[in-house]
């Protein structure tokens, strides 16, 4: 297997060229995963860029991204493959004359297989990046399905036999840890915990996304968001919200971050009314404004 990256630094640069500013830890682990050919299990709070990492990885390596979005009740036919019944019926009607045996062997061939993300990823002629998003939302059976793919890069279809990967996909699994993933699955992966970025990195991310905003303003925003994350909120602001806030403030033409600006735009950063009132009380915004 050819490795897409030659070093940690080239990994980091490659990701940066795809608009993803990775911390040293992220770049190191991604480089390891791609070099050792192991799947990467990414955990961390919502909105720190776990999914974004997989997308950037696809862009950086010039591979297609195959994405399996998990949800409660996602099953084999959604994740792996389905038989194309309509096409099979057509074939049967088209071949009225021929014998049962020949039709039977015909309609269970790869032609009538509808590949879903997992099968598509390992069948692909070109190597791909396979993203299994929010695996913790899926039921446990889903993990069992993944084990074969993750360790041997193959899938067993009862009517066809074993389909082995033509190429070696880069696999990224993400999880918000709402459910404990099984030990068997964890053992097969390299583990990466992505946390909120350091203030320094977050400033760079904001600058990359909202280049027109003044640097002092960017610094202020990052600092306030950092403080908000330390408060006891129902949903802590993520990087995406920092960027949103920066965009909003740019659009509002705010030149500095004062109590009034913060109060009027808090809704962009916080997603629950209760959080908004907690912050207003905690920061004493009303009194400052009075």
């Amino acid at each position: 297997m050819s490795t897409p990256f030659s070093s940690v630094d080239s990994t980091r640069n490659g990701l940066a060229a795809s608009d993803y500013l990775a911390s040293d830890a992220i770049a190191t682990t991604v480089y390891l995963a791609s070099t050792l050919g192991k799947p990467l299990l990414v955990e961390g709070p919502a909105g720190v860029g776990k999914t974004e990492l997989a997308k950037a990885l696809a862009r950086a390596t010039g591979r297609d991204l195959v994405r399996l979005q998990c949800y409660e009740g996602v099953d084999e036919s959604r994740a792996l493959y389905e038989w194309n019944h309509a096409k099979q019926l057509l074939r049967i009607t088209a071949e009225r004359e021929s014998s049962w045996d020949s039709v039977r062997s015909d309609i269970f061939s790869e032609e009538f297989l509808l590949p879903r993300p997992l099968l598509a990823a390992i069948q692909s002629e070109q190597p791909v990046v396979l993203l299994v998003d929010e695996l913790d939302k899926a039921d446990e059976e889903m993990e069992g399905l993944l084990l074969e793919i993750l360790s041997d890069f193959q899938v067993t279809v009862p009517e066809l036999g074993t389909v082995t990967a033509r190429t070696h996909p880069l696999v990224v699994l993400t999880s918000n840890a709402t459910r404990e993933l099984s030990e068997a699955l964890r053992r097969r992966c390299l583990f990466l915990h992505v946390d909120y970025p350091t203030p320094d990195l977050e400033r760079k991310i904001v600058q990359l996304q909202v280049p027109d905003l003044a640097e002092t303003m960017t610094a202020s925003i990052v600092r306030v968001v950092g403080a908000l994350r330390d408060m006891n909120l129902r949903k802590s602001p993520s990087v995406a919200e920092t960027v949103d806030w920066a965009r909003t403030l740019l659009a509002l033409g705010a030149s500095e971050l004062d109590a009034e600006t913060v109060k009027s735009s808090l809704g962009v950063v916080l997603k629950h009314q209760r959080d908004v009132s907690t912050v207003i009380a905690d920061l004493d915004l009303d009194r400052v404004l009075a």
């Binding site: 940690v8 040293d24 409660e72 915990h193 202020s220 600092r223 403080a227 004493d284």
Partner: protein
């Protein structure tokens, strides 16, 4: 490869991790070895990341890993030799004053590197033990009192601008919610109000570096393996409630919300899972009449979701207060999962504190202290008395317990040799749906001394619940549905 020594080190390190409860398998060690080969040994932080990705399975394990990694892959041996600032010789008080000054300066400049150097220096100069070879981070931090540098650092960071809340002594660490911004001079920016909090977390970081440095130096004196076993702090989740100091409790509090979120997700997904999948035979048969008796369309029984009423009965006397406070806060965070939550506290008599717990919006609120001050939880005796407490609960509050109620009793069942009053507990049990007693003591010390855990556990279910992990398992398994 010159790696025979390295392999051994990886194996020894994995063994140390296992002794701290991490499941490190042989294949993980092999992966770790491959990671080292790919990354090389030049960049220590990258090596750390690489090994962590191979050896760890979940994020809670990181803190333990970092400490063990520092021991097995130390940055250097002996005292640091990088350029060090001048310090007065001799008197320890002069040294700590000088160090504090440097600390305030580094804090004001956000200089992480300087802080790291200072941590090493602090241990070197203030942490050496007197009677035996070795180092003590606690002693060094005691002598330095780094938190006293906060006020100084604040002043240096914004020269001229007064700190609004007019703290007199530098030793006051009250802080807290609001700090009136602005003493007029200069124009304090909005975000400057976070300065004190930021400094505080920088100090916490500094403390951790001093502790890490102490482990590193001690490992040289006393052997890596021993230090890895005794001086590495377990992750918060497996730390005993009873031996937790106030700093541990603060750390514990920080875990409540993520924990509550995960538990709530698990509880509601269990509820959902149970509401599907049960075939209602009767309905299915009736439906099958239209298809000639063939049950094509099975009907499922809908279970009514059950949200229990929860009654907490908490011992808040000194020894178990930390455990009770944590559990109360967790249950409050989970309160949407219950139809109703009522909380009673006792030392020797019982009083309701539901309002205190529910109003405690900020985790910083100390419910226990408030309850001790404002409620009738202390009877005539001094120590906790379970008999009296159970009695006064059945006497005045038994109507809180009904057929839908799950009662959780929190306490160590140490009765100070008072009467146990089994009948009161029986009365509660007979009226409730379920009564569970969570005991923060390990099972082996039940029934020793004045503990009457055995007698009570004959009446109701009693579980050992020594740390967050056990509490989480209990909530996930027993409290749902």
């Amino acid at each position: 490869m010159p790696e025979t020594g390295l392999t051994e080190r990886l194996v020894a390190m994995s063994a140390a991790l296992r002794r701290h409860g991490l499941a490190v398998g042989t294949s993980d060690i092999a992966d770790a070895g491959r990671a080292v080969r790919v990354l090389g040994l030049d960049d220590r932080e990258r090596l750390r990341t690489g090994l962590a990705s191979a050896l760890l399975r979940r994020s809670g394990e990181r803190a333990v890993f970092d400490q063990v990694f520092d021991l097995y892959f130390p940055a250097a041996l002996g005292a640091r030799t990088d350029h060090q600032p001048e310090l007065p010789e001799g008197d320890e008080r002069d040294v700590s004053t000088a160090l504090r000054d440097l600390l305030a300066d580094a804090l004001a400049r956000h200089d992480a590197e300087a802080l790291d150097r200072l941590a090493a220096l602090t241990l070197e100069r203030l942490g050496a033990l007197d009677r035996q070879p070795g180092w003590s981070a606690a002693q060094a931090l005691d002598r330095l009192a780094p938190q006293t540098a906060i006020a100084d650092a604040l002043e240096r960071r914004s020269p001229g601008s007064l700190v609004g809340d007019g703290e007199g002594g530098a030793t006051s660490t009250s802080g807290g919610g609001s700090e009136g911004s602005g003493g007029g001079s200069g124009s304090p920016r909005f975000e400057d109000r976070f300065e004190r909090d930021e400094l505080r977390s920088a100090i916490a970081e500094f403390r951790r570096s001093v502790e890490a440095e102490a482990r590193r130096r001690n490992a040289e004196v006393r052997g890596t393996e021993r230090i890895a076993d005794y001086a590495v702090r377990n992750s918060v989740e497996t730390r005993d409630f009873l031996s937790s100091g106030s700093k541990d409790l603060e750390e514990l509090r920080a875990t409540i919300h993520p924990l509550a979120k995960r538990l709530a997700a698990r509880l509601s997904s269990r509820r959902r899972a149970q509401s599907r999948g049960q075939v209602d035979v009767r309905k299915t048969l009736r439906r099958s009449l239209s298809t000639g008796g063939i049950p094509i369309d099975p009907a499922y029984a809908h279970r009514r979701p059950h949200r229990p009423d929860l009654v907490l009965l908490c011992d808040i006397s000194g020894s178990v207060a930390g455990f009770s406070a944590f559990t109360m806060a967790l249950m409050q965070a989970l309160s949407t999962q219950f139809r109703r939550l009522r909380v009673f506290a006792f030392v020797s008599t019982t009083d309701e504190i539901t309002d205190l717990v529910l109003d405690a919006d900020r985790l910083a609120d100390d419910v226990v202290t408030t309850a001790l001050r404002t409620r009738k939880v202390l009877g005539w005796g001094a120590g906790s008395s379970y008999g009296q407490a159970l009695d006064s609960f059945t006497e005045r509050h038994l109507d809180a317990v009904g057929p839908r109620t799950t009662v959780l009793i929190l306490g160590d069942a140490r009765s100070n040799y008072g009467l146990p009053r089994h009948s009161a507990l029986q009365a509660i049990r007979d009226q409730a749906r379920q009564v569970v007693w969570l005991n923060p003591e390990p099972v082996r010390s039940w029934d020793t001394g004045d503990s009457i855990a055995g007698q009570y556990s004959g009446i109701v279910d009693m579980h050992e619940c020594r740390n967050v992990e056990q509490l989480r398992t209990f909530v996930g398994r027993t409290l749902a549905v």
